[in-house]
Symmetry: C2
């Protein structure tokens, strides 16, 4: 076929390029394929294919314990880098561990234990090379608020401690089973926008809690929401200790300055990494008595690993990470550790410090152990206000207002999700903020399906291409033909909307043509290219549309239906009702056929076809 | 541009047909447009546009009281048809009204009241011409089960009665406010499959309840689930009254036979319509004492109006119907009526009896009133077993097993939804069945978005068209180019899945090319035609994909991004990163450009462009 008759093809010339009905697939086959795509999209068993049994065993061990994968090729060069990185993150982990344990209402020493055992487990099982394992502020805050509902940490510290270990154990079991059951994809339902809002909200809440330490207050509310905290703070202005506040702001200023320096000149990463430990030592030398608080969240851990993996172009397996985190917490709970994960800030320092493998975690663990053995007495003299400053400075880094502005510019809806998560966390509680944000995110997905976009398509000059007239303003319409694109799967949730919307497009087009006195409407082409799937409600809708079109003496034409849609239209006999001669591979061909009909002015397609055949 | 250079266009020749970035729209404008599409997809105010105020007032009255619309053109011819239809549905409404009131544990007379006032209200406010208003079995069953949890109808009948009126009142307020708030679309979330399964389940439950009447049992379980009912029935086999059962089966046989006749020959519709009343009269003459039960649901009402509207090609406004139903129930609750809606079976009879307007409802109401005034004494002698038979025969009509088989052939997932709704209702409760079915339906929508289909596209012989290689088996691949189509919006819920899936497609393609020794992969084209929208998580995903491609020395090319997607890619500066020269209007043009590059073997597109320019 030459390109000359491409523009106005006669219907029978088209026969060679009919819409294909995909070959039938056995039900069990397609079910298997769909289950695989849902739970094993990363095809984790791919490397095991076509391998002898012994090799499979080795690969299996390497799969669950990646240390066996990279350990044999470990060099002295690597150790040097990892050692520096390990020492750097240890200097962050020690003061933060103590602070966050205090935030969870747990003895500060637990923050150090938690930076010792879990990193060792992760070093063996984890697939991320940059993740620094430890306690995080948000998880610590959650621990305090959830356990606090059951037991008062001050009245019954022993029970509270046991509950914290039990919670850590079950969190570990839950994480590991999510990974083993391949349900890691549930984490995907936390969108980027949700995480930004949630983290900023949690950081705000944690900062508010630090007002106690900074202002040196003895009594403080147990609630975490903004209103309660501010009411509690301002109801006891006479209790504010100005010395404490001034000292706190000095340390905070010092920490923020060092962070600013490191941010401007990445090669000075160690300045900000060392600052907290320096503060603690300085503060302890200033001989105040100790007190502290803590932070962090699971979700953060995985998202963290992923963004670093990008820089180094290696692959992180969400489900495998879940198993590693789970094991880490199960083992941790048996060795006096509480909930740990991979905090972003420390992982960033680890990355900047040039870590090569998970050995940096081992180095950190050893450094923490040394601290535990020899330096613990020092921490008895660390002032609470220093720990509060450390937490505030870490938390300020989590409030990513630039990302929120970016969301506003790019996608208003994502901005709403982000702000809802933030407001939910700040004004209500961490759980409510999370639930609200996830609900709004899901609502958006449902709204996308419930109210799909429909466009009128027009012809792009000098081509057979038809595109959205709103996007391409230089398009021209085809007389007597209305071309509509449907931009979502046709499901029960949108079937009646689409029926009404299509009817309205046709009404509006006819009104327009009537008022301008042009050719009356004769063909309605539905571009099904973007319709990924259809269900039985959708098929009934198309049947109704077909009937309505028949009654209005309009011909319904389908262009480019996909595999799944064609299969179902065929099974439901709708193809027969519409007529396979009214289904085309592209909008261009459909318009060509309509034009051919319009010009020969014979409405019957079958007659038309034989007519055209005779002409040829 | 001729069609010769269409196949291998040089990049600069393309400039005329670049992907257009849609003109920016003010935020408020687009928000207004989106809100309108969500809540006013039917554009109810369209007819008011460009009309003088007085005309608007008249149109407004006609909008809320459609009777003023059709009454002026009402003819004697219409009245004749409506009279016959009205008498026919009255003969159904009277025995069913009594039966269903009994099912709701309410005095039978209430069933008659409910077939008198609400039809009059609907006749004035309703937009459907065929809907016969009255009580329905499922609503009656729900009333009994929900009120029964609070008050025992036998011990405290007066309180129970008042509760029933209150429930009806609030149901009316709820319906009317859903309509006024334009939330009628919530009903769309009940899919076709859900309704089939739910109705069949409810019908089964109602039939099971009739075992009490048919077997003449005195004691019966209050539960509605299959297991409890069967246990209750078979634990008292010695109580079964065989005379009652035989009489019941005789009446049931009579009713089913008449229905079969009417189904075979639609002109004998009155045979089945008159059968229930005949049974009641016959049964009452056989002098047993009365007893009864009842049925129906809101959802049914609206779905009903819609399918009849299709035959007659007029428009039903879901939100307006909601307001009419709501008012009907509010007024009804003040006049001793309980929950009413538009039962499908009776509306079908009304349609077959040739009704022309809602006057048939007025005729029915008058006929019911006459019955109330003069014939009520008769019903004191109607045997319970006859009413049970009437309910069973009506319910059997609701079990649409053929539709369920159709679901299995066309769409397995819809079949699962249908069966879940059925099993939920039969084995647990009406509420649980509904919740399970809606949850599964929503899960399907979420899964569609969370696990979108991705396809490899191939070239259809002798064309510039690229289609799914699984659907079109005669396609050929383009050496060195991988073409992927993404079949859903790119949202947070699928962003990480898509990243992994795209990576896997590329891996697999490279493995295949390596093993066959063909040209190595150089271009990856993403066909974005079916990507209706993208959020910030999706944009980050594309950024990562772009980085990974760069690292693997592959060129990422986008084909046919839609208006919404282009706008966001532009705002997030991703277009600049990918390069506008790597975005094409169609896959064909993208492949053309890639081929041009491959053949001239210059990897730098900018160089290429000037090169090509020099050639021209």
């Amino acid at each position: 076929m030459g390109s000359a008759d491409y523009v106005f093809p006669s219907p029978n010339a088209e026969c060679a390029r009919r819409v294909a009905i995909p070959p039938p697939q056995p039900f069990v086959e397609s079910l298997k394929y769909n289950l695989k795509e849902t739970f094993f999209p990363d095809d984790p068993l791919r490397q095991f294919k076509n391998q002898p049994t012994s090799r499979r065993f080795v690969l299996g061990i390497k799969y669950f314990l990646p240390i066996f994968d990279w350990a044999p090729s470990y060099t002295f060069e690597f150790l040097r880098s990892d050692f520096i990185a390990g020492i750097t993150i240890a200097s962050l982990a020690i003061p933060q561990g103590i602070s966050y344990a205090k935030l969870a209402n747990l003895p500060p020493i637990l923050g150090l234990y938690s930076s010792f055992i879990p990193p060792l487990v992760y070093a063996m099982m984890g697939s991320s090379r940059d993740l620094a394992v430890g306690t995080v502020a948000v998880a610590s805050l959650l621990t305090a608020s959830m356990l606090g509902n059951e037991v008062n940490a001050n009245e019954n510290p022993k029970l509270y401690l046991h509950l914290a270990f039990t919670a850590t154990f079950f969190a570990g079991v839950f994480q590991a089973s999510l990974g083993l059951l391949r349900l890691g994809f549930l984490v995907d339902f936390l969108s980027h926008a949700t995480i930004i809002g949630f983290m900023a909200g949690a950081a705000t809440v944690v900062i508010l809690q630090q007002l106690k330490g900074i202002l040196g207050l003895d009594h403080f509310t147990h609630s975490t929401d903004l209103v309660s905290v501010l009411r509690s703070v301002f109801s006891q202005t006479h209790q504010w200790r100005w010395e404490s506040a001034i000292l706190g702001f000095c340390f905070l200023f010092f920490l923020l300055i060092t962070r600013y320096i490191s941010k401007r000149k990445p090669r000075f990463f160690w300045v900000s990494a060392m600052a907290p430990l320096t503060s603690v030592i300085l503060g302890s030398i200033l001989v105040y008595l100790t007190h502290a608080e803590k932070h962090g969240v699971q979700v953060e851990g995985i998202a963290v690993g992923r963004s670093f993996a990008m820089f180094k172009n290696y692959h992180i397996d969400g489900n495998k990470e879940m198993i590693a985190f789970g094991t880490m917490n199960i083992v941790g709970s048996c060795t006096s550790c509480y909930l740990t994960t991979g905090p972003f800030s420390r992982s960033a320092v680890n990355f900047n410090a040039g870590c090569k493998t998970a050995v940096s975690n081992i180095v950190m663990a050893v450094a923490v152990m040394v601290t535990l053995l020899f330096l613990t007495p020092l921490f008895h003299y660390t002032p609470l206000v220093v720990l509060s400053s450390i937490i505030i400075s870490a938390m300020l880094g989590l409030i990513d207002y630039e990302a929120a502005i970016h969301l506003w510019t790019v996608d208003k809806f994502d901005f709403i999700v982000c702000i809802s998560a933030y407001a939910g966390v700040v004004f209500c509680s961490v759980e409510i903020g999370l639930v609200v944000a996830v609900a709004i995110s899901l609502l958006r997905v449902l709204l996308f399906v419930a109210r799909p976009k429909t466009f009128i398509l027009g012809n792009i000059p000098n081509s057979m291409i038809y595109r959205n007239v709103e996007q391409y303003t230089n398009t021209s319409s085809v007389p007597g033909v209305l071309i509509l694109e449907i931009d979502a799967p046709i499901y029960f949730a949108n079937a009646s909307y689409l029926r009404e919307r299509i009817a309205r497009w046709v009404d509006e087009e006819e009104d327009k043509l009537k008022s301008s006195g042009e050719t009356s409407l004769q063909y309605v082409i539905l571009d099904m290219g973007a319709v990924g799937n259809i269900d039985t409600s959708g098929i009934s809708m198309l049947e109704e549309v077909k009937k309505v079109m028949d009654r209005r003496e309009l011909q319904l034409v389908l262009a480019n239906p996909g595999a799944e849609v064609t299969k179902k239209l065929n099974k439901s006999k709708l193809i027969e009702k519409i007529g396979q001669e009214w289904m085309y591979l592209t909008v261009g061909e459909a318009v060509g056929a309509c034009n051919f009909m319009l010009h020969t002015r014979k409405p019957d397609p079958l007659k038309e076809e034989s007519e055209a055949y005779n002409k040829v």
